[in-house]
């Protein structure tokens, strides 16, 4: 049955956990705040792994299956670790009409990654999203948080290569 603390969920007692605890407390352990807590958890940890979900379920006294059901219902929550770099292509109507599909397929081919997945070396994830709301600049792609408006296959591939290479340079 639920217990307080992270002892049994295998989460390290670090700053992230403290911040998560603070948020849970701020919401007074309310079951209704599950989405808010999951948002915070994902911001802190990058994705929601089993231990994290179990921890949230214990703290909010919610059945694990319910937490899991919510976490998997909403697209935004990631249950797997994303790549170091992330390219997201908008597949909203305006972007689709203006050729977003070509951009997605080009990224898939060029970097050997499938939509929704991450490259074998964990360096690049490719996601498609439903409309980021910048339709007048369609098609749009987001590379590591920066929007590329009026995107083309060429400028998206270029930008992705640039962020991947920048990392290589840093590593040296």
């Amino acid at each position: 049955m639920p217990d307080s603390g992270a002892a049994r969920t295998g989460l390290k007692n670090d700053r992230r956990l403290q911040m998560l605890e603070a948020t849970i407390k701020q919401h007074q352990y309310s079951k209704d705040a599950l989405l808010e807590i999951l948002h915070t958890a994902q911001e802190l940890y990058g994705y929601l792994d089993r231990d994290l979900l179990l921890h949230v379920s214990r703290q909010l006294r919610l059945p694990p299956s319910q937490v899991y059901g919510v976490a998997t219902f909403y697209n935004l929550f990631k249950l797997k670790k994303p790549g170091t770099h992330v390219v997201t292509v908008c597949m909203g109507t305006a972007c689709y009409v203006k050729g977003a599909e070509d951009i997605v397929s080009a990224v898939e081919r060029e970097f050997n990654v499938i939509r929704g997945g991450t490259t074998g070396d964990g360096r690049l994830s490719l996601f498609v999203t439903r409309c980021i709301g910048a339709c007048a600049m369609a098609p749009n792609a987001i590379v590591d948080g920066e929007t590329v408006g009026k995107a083309t296959v060429e400028n998206v591939l270029k930008r992705v290569k640039a962020v991947l290479e920048a990392e290589m340079v840093e590593a040296r």
Partner: protein, 234 residues
Amino acid sequence: MSKPIELTIDGRKVVAEEGETILKAAKKNGIYVPTLCYLEGVSSFGGCRLCMVEIKGSPRLFASCITPVAEGMEVLTDSERLRRYRKWAVELLLAERPHVCSVCVANGSCELQQLATELGVDHLRVDREWTDYEVDLTHERFAYDPNRCILCTRCIRVCDEVEGVHTLDLMLRGKNSKVVFDLDENWGFSQSCTSCGKCSAACPVGALYVKGKPLSEVKKKDLVSFIMERRSGK
């Protein structure tokens, strides 16, 4: 006492209690409405759409398991249109996952199968899906075959509302929805499951079942309403 409500169902004048559903009012008066996700004793879901009825004055269709009666309401539980739509619903459920009756524990006592017969489903107008979910045989007494699941959520509601543990829930959404134990655990490793078996007793098809027993021996559709009646002391 709640006040009595008068309405007509299929042209028959009936009296129901305030707050009662159309389905309950119909049943009490011996009027048959096909159902599938509905289970007496737990909350209504309104998902399968089998129990849809027409209400005079509205172009919409209403799930009778969840729509409350109203004074003067004129309900139609059977029409050409309703029959056509019910048939579609059953066909789509049959096509959604690989339902092969001959190798199913529920064969002969399956509610989906019975409805298909009753509605005259003799072929499918859409291609069948051959989902390939792994069958979970890890529990010592029970088994779970997601390929036979019709997502009616009876098991989830029974586990939550009757047994009170909420081991089961849905993961993902849309056509990818799947009933899972805890954090998508194998049944045998579920921390919260009490192995009470109510979920398999409530399953209308052969998705959750007792190993080595044909469903006809396990199936206790009235179990839940019996428990709930006992609890309320009626």
